[in-house]
Each structure stands twice: as C-alpha cells, then as structure tokens.
C-alpha cells in the first residue's frame, strides 16, 4: 500500500500530471480518428524518451493508451464510425441510441463504464500481476482455438430471425477474413501486394457501418422526409444507471482475462459482452434500436482488456498488443529490461505507472462526462451535411491509415457491400464477427496443428480446451431443449427480423 501511495506521489507531481493530461488528450484525439491508433501515436512519440524522464514518458504513454480506448467510442456512437477495432461493437447500439436523441446517455454510460472497468482492471492488475503472470503462458493454441470457437458459438444468438440471411453475413465476414498471406503463400489477394496483410477490421467496420449507411440515407433522401433527431435529456436517468451497472461489471469480467491472455485481444470480449447483454437483458426488444446495455457492456470490456494487457507486460515483459509492444520499446530505450524481474527491479517506476493509470482514468472521466451533451449536439447538424461530414471523416481515416488510394478503393467497395446488405435485409453484426474471429480461429488452429504435426488429438490436449468444448456441448443441448419447448408454445420470439436489419 505504501508503494502505491509513493506511486501516487510520483504520478501527481505537477509536471507528471501535465504529461498525463497531454497523454489522455492525445489518446482521445487519435482514438477518434479511424486509422490512427494509440500504438502509432506512442511509436511516433518515442523520441521524447531522449529528453524526458522515464516516469513522465510512461505516464504520458499510459494516458494515450487509455485515452485511445475512450476516443474510439465517441465516433462509434455519434457517427457510426468506429475509431478502433475494439469499439466496433459499441457502434451497434450506441449509434441507434444517438439517433433516438440519447447520444448523451450513450456517451455517458461509455465513459463511466470505461472508468469503472479501467479502475477495477487496474486493481486486478496490481493484485494479480505477481502471482498470475507466469501462468498465462501455459495456455496454448488448442485452448485459444477452443475459446474462439466458443465465441463463434455465441454468434448464433445474433443471427436473427432469418437464419439464412444471418449465415450469409457470417460467411461473408469469414470470407473477408481469409484474405492475406498464409504459410508464405498469398491467398485471395488477387495479385495486390496491398492485400497480403489482410483487411483491417476498422476499414471493414467503417465501410459497412458508416459508408453503407450514408449511401442508404442518400438513396432515400428525396423519397422520405427527414427524420428529425429528437433532443434528449442531457444526463443519464435513474433507469439508465440501473440498466448500466451490471453490464459494466460483466463487461469488465470479460475484458480483463482476454486482455491478460497473450492471444486474447480487445475485440472478442466486446462482442461476447454484447451477446451476453442481449441474452440477459430485460428489454431484448430494444436491442438493435438502441439498448443502453449494448453500449455499457462492450465499452467496459474494451477498457478492462486494456488494463489486462499490462499484466503479461509487467509480469513477464510480454507485449500482447501493438501498443504494449511499442511501450516496451520505450522501456528499452531507458535501459529498462522488461522481463520477469522487471517489477522487482523497478518497483518505484511500476507503482508510479499503476498510479498514473488511476489518474488517467479519472482525468478521462472528468474530461469526457461534461463534454457528452456537447458532442451530442453534433447530431443536430442537418442530415446532408452530417453525412457529408461522416463520409469525409471515414475517407480521411482510411487514407491516413496507409496513405494509399488502394485503401480508398477498398473502403468504397466494402461500402457498396454495406449498402447492398441494408437493401436486402442482411444483418451486419455476423459479418463483423466473422471478420474478427475468422483469422484468429485459423491462426490458432494452424499453430496447434503445426506444432502437433497434423495430429488433431492436440485440440483436446489442454484442460482449458476441454472445458470450452464441454461448455459448447452444454449450450448446444440447451439450445435444442429451448427449441423443442418453444415449438410447443405458440408465442413468437421477441426479436423480429426488422430489428436485425437495423442492428
């Protein structure tokens, strides 16, 4: 405890506080813009390590990391344009809420949820890093494969009333995920070297969500009168709080372990949280139309996962995300050797960093909460200008990501796909999940089989994998039982096809 207090003493000196403020502002800014992420921002700021003391630089980098997670959700909610892959899911309900005049509530539940998750995550980090750290490497490819498969299983919840359309979307997503180099061979790259690293989730999401919708609105502008976005309450109501706090906690429970696992990531827990909330919600009819749970859960999940990421990094010197990898480079340029002894050897610095995470989190809440109603006003811009702005923003982000006209072409092609999906009532969520999960499933499966030299027995060779398959079997049985029961009763399922189209 003394150590943590010392850490706060370091993190709260005026100059370090200034670095934290600069960090969270920068992080929020880059989180907002699709294509520019916290990892590259930290990378470009690496030269400051030449002139700034270690604790200040690391405090700033931590601010950028957390800030990026906040900023990404703002554009997801307001403009349907996710800034980061981990806030893709937030756009689903968040943007619907914004259109119902509840943008301020969506932003607020995202901000508070992030704060709650970030804080709990940081506490867990402090408690668990020394003991759990060495265990995370025990999980191998077979376990990850089983966990991802379990996650894919969850998609069945969101396929919608038309299973056919749901599967079309899912397989489209999986197909997009196939693009790229595999085992040294180009696959589905059509001769473009630009495609050999695969298609980034953010590009797909921005195209399908923002571009597809802009085209859809443009196609209907003349024929339909404009819907006016109502002006809503500026703050969260009691009911909003009541519906948010459980998703925050559940989102944290999903996010932290996935962040802490070396191959976990931030995207999978966000959609696991989403489907869980959809399942558990007392207002399932609101999903697809702007359910606050669908924002609260995923936003908590992505921030908790950011905290989780720091666990293998501090305990073992293992970077599990791009941002963590770049922060490790920063450690090294201070002559600090990340690795198992890092925490013991640099106690003061580590605790200052942990304290600064609390500080960054608090700063973000203080900065973002009052701004929520201000941001929400953005939506009162007349539709044609608003969508022109969204298009500009989406295009700028896609271009900035690679300074290449190729990405613009890709964005347009996928945008047309998004338009067509709206036209034919194909839900977009299964597609996004396919893009997220497909490559991960394949990666883990091929790693497991490469190591076992083609022996499929390896897939049930780890306890975690077996547990995951047991859960899957149980779910399957549950589904069948539910199906039999519901076919006996006459009540129709509450989720209608139209909701799915909107989702």
């Amino acid at each position: 405890m003394d150590l943590l207090l010392d850490g706060f003493a370091t993190a709260l000196t005026p100059s370090n506080l200034l670095f934290a403020v600069v960090g969270v502002l920068l992080g929020t800014a880059v989180g907002v813009l699709p294509g520019i992420g916290p990892a590259m921002t930290v990378a470009l700021l690496l030269p400051v390590t030449y002139s700034v003391p270690a604790d200040s630089a690391l405090i700033m980098f931590a601010g950028i990391y957390y800030g990026g997670m906040y900023g990404g959700s703002t554009t997801s909610i307001l403009l349907n344009t996710p800034g980061e892959s981990s806030s893709v899911i937030t756009a689903l309900e968040g943007n619907k809420m914004a259109k119902n005049g509840r943008a301020a509530q969506a932003l607020a539940t995202a901000a508070i949820g992030s704060f709650v998750a970030g804080t709990i995550g940081t506490v867990l980090l402090i408690v668990l890093a020394p003991t759990v750290g060495p265990l995370v490497v025990q999980l191998g490819a077979p376990s990850y494969f089983a966990i991802m498969l379990l996650a894919l299983f969850a998609v069945t919840v969101v396929l919608g009333a038309s299973k056919l359309r749901g599967f079309i979307a899912l397989f489209l997503g999986l197909a997009i995920g196939l693009v790229g180099m595999t085992s040294g061979q180009p696959r589905m790259t059509f001769g473009f070297a630009e495609l050999s690293d695969g298609i980034e989730i953010v590009v797909v999401a921005v195209a399908i969500f923002a571009l597809g919708e802009a085209l859809w609105v443009a196609a209907h502008l003349r024929r339909k009168p404009l819907e006016i976005i109502p002006v809503g309450q500026p703050w969260m109501s009691k009911a909003d709080w009541g519906r948010s706090w459980k998703p925050w906690l559940r989102g944290t429970a999903f996010g932290f372990p996935f962040g802490a696992l070396p191959a976990g990531g931030a995207e999978v827990p966000t959609f696991l949280s989403y489907v869980t909330e959809r399942r558990l919600s007392k207002h399932p009819e609101e999903f697809g139309k702007g359910a606050i749970e669908g924002v609260a859960g995923p936003e908590a999940a992505n921030n908790a996962s950011a905290a989780g990421t720091l666990l293998p990094m501090l305990a073992l010197g293992l970077p599990t995300t791009a941002t963590a990898a770049v922060i490790l480079v920063a450690f090294e340029s201070y002559g600090l050797q990340p690795g198992p002894q890092f925490m013991a050897q640099n106690e003061a610095l580590v605790w200052a960093l942990l304290a600064s995470l609390f500080v960054a989190n608090t700063l973000l809440l203080v900065l973002n909460l009052p701004l929520a109603p201000v941001w929400a006003k953005l939506l009162q811009i007349p539709r044609p200008y608003l969508y022109a702005g969204i298009l500009f923003f989406a295009t700028l982000g896609a271009y900035a990501a690679g300074t290449s006209s190729f990405d613009l072409g890709l964005l347009l092609v996928l945008g047309v796909l998004g338009f067509a999906m709206r036209r034919f009532g194909v839900p977009v969520l299964p597609l996004i999940i396919g893009v997220i999960l497909g490559p991960r499933l394949e990666e883990q499966l091929s790693e497991a089989l490469e190591i076992s030299r083609g022996d499929y027995g390896t897939l049930v060779g780890e306890p975690v994998a077996i547990a995951a398959y047991v859960v899957m079997a149980a779910l399957l049985v549950g589904l069948v039982v539910a199906r039999v029961r519901s076919s006996r009763s006459t009540t129709p399922t509450s989720v209608t096809e139209k909701d799915e189209v909107n989702a």
């Binding site: 992420g37 490497v137 050999s196 695969g198 480079v329 198992p340 690679g402 990405d407």
Partner: protein, 346 residues
Amino acid sequence: MTVNLFPHRSPSTRRGLRAVLATVSVVSLAALTACGGVTASSDSGDASGDLADKRMRMMIPNAAGGGYDLTGRAAVKVMEDEKITGRFEVSNVEGASGTVAMQRLLNEKGSDDLLMTMGLGVVGAVYTNKSDATVDKAVPIARLIEEQEAILVPKDSPFKTVDDFVEAWKADPDKVVVGGGSAPGGPDFLFPMQLADAVGVTPKDVAYVEYDGGGPLTTALLGSKIDVGMSGLGEFEGQIADGSLRVLAVSGEERLETTDAPTLTEEGIDLVFTNWRGVLAPPGIDDATREAYVKAFEEMHDTQAWKDTLEKNGWADNFATGEEFETYLDEQNERVRTTLTDLGLA
C-alpha cells in the same frame, strides 16, 4: 515526366504491430504531398552532390516502432543533427513485409531525394509475395547494422548444447518444432532453413511455426509449446537474464559480448547468418547523386552520435558501402532466392 511524385498503394494490415498506422500523421501527410511538389522543382538544381541543404525523403517498409523504423529514424536523426543532409520526411509504407514499399521505391525511378531503409526481411518478402520488385533492381547505398540470430530453448529443455539439438533434429525433424518471429521469407524463417541445410536436414522437413513477432514467440517458448526458438536476441534479454530461456548458440562470426553462448562455427557448423539492415535508393539516379548519398552515410557513420546510437540500441556495426555492399546484396538476394525456391515459396 517520369518521376512518380506521389505513388499510391499501401495495404491495410490486420493485427499486431503491423496493424500500427503507416504514415507519420495526418499533418505530415499534407507535408508529404507538399514534398512531392517540391521534388519536381528541385530536380533541376542540386547536381553538385551537396546534400547539406537538401530536403530528403526516407521510406520505412514497416510500422512505426518496428526494427526498420528504429534504424531508419535513428540514421535520419544523426544526419539531420550533424547537418550532413537537410531535413528528412520519414514515412512508413507498410505492407506485405516490405514488398509494397519496395514497389514504391522502384516506381520512383530517378527520384533524387528518396531513400529507403530495408534489410534481409525485405529481400525474402518480395519473393514470397510473388512480386518482381526484387532488391537487385534498386541502387544499394549502405549497409548499416546487423543483428545475430540466436537458437533459444526453454529452461528445462533436454537440449543442453547445439549438438543435442542437431542430433535430435537429424534423427526426426518432425519431433523438433522450431518457432520463429517472422513469416516465411523473413529472417527467423530463413535462418532455420539455412541451418537445416548446413547440418544435413532437408529444409522442407523443418517443422516451422510462425509467430507474429518476438512477444508471441517468447510466450510459446516460456510455455514450452515449441522446442526451439530462432530469433534475434533483442526481445529476450530479460528472460535470458533470469534463466527462463537459454541460448544454445548465436549465428554471427564472433561471439556476442553480452551473451555467453558459442557461435555456430565454434560448434563445427559451417554457417554464418546475420540479419542486416541497410539503405537503398531508387534505380535510375545518376552517379553523382549516388556518390553524394554514400558520402553522407560515411560521414554519418564516423560521427560520435551514431556510435552512441548503436550502443544505446544494442546494434552491431556492420557498415559497408559501394562495391562491397553491392556484391553483398546480390549474394544475399541469390541465397534467399535459392532457399525459398527449394521450399517452393518463390
């Protein structure tokens, strides 16, 4: 005009460090465009070979924070600070492990203000990507640094020496799973393949598992998911220091001061392999420009600032220019091509 002022094409990436954004920032994006405009006008002047006031561009073939990025930016910083050249515009052109950047370099035939940082990984990547933008088509300027590869095993591995490992490997290549931090074509892939060839294991039989960089590779080694890891030492120093990973051998000509491990040649294996980084210029530049570039890098190499940079980053000096680098590059290109062709990857 044949100069392609602002070439396009770069990919989007999917995960890991590679997913980091390619360009400097939106601000410098504008600057880059502007710089393209400047190129046109500066083409006419400046044949004297004096670079001191000249604005230059440095292309980096991978993400900000990656190996080429750190080397390229460090070299640029020294040249700017020591007033050897004018300011540089540094841009990260990601994609296909450097193939996209290589294509851009070759497209800018004759551009006299452009350089590209590259290395062994780019040599192999153009082959696995089935691109004809091979490195021998560019103009070699300088080789800067090298990094040795190491053979790593977990603490409780049955392999105590290189011999133990090679014995087991020869007996049954299927039973010895080798992991590396690069995709097929990259340094961590080429090293085990050439090592296999050198000790009499058929490269095609090598059980190679690709990891997305040093982090995931360390995870796999610590969890004993694979038997042997092959990679540069940079990302493993913490684990080696605390004994959770052991180094069986390093791949360079001489032992490293920092690591207590023999070289392969000491162990009786006839292989010297280093992962090097250097600088290329586009084809079609005139001799005066080329000489000016070489001179600039020679000056940079002689500065104290560069020596400090090498030490700070733990890079081994491996400087070569002119004929020496040109011959070396051709030799490397040929060797990589043969290795990958034998494996059916080129």
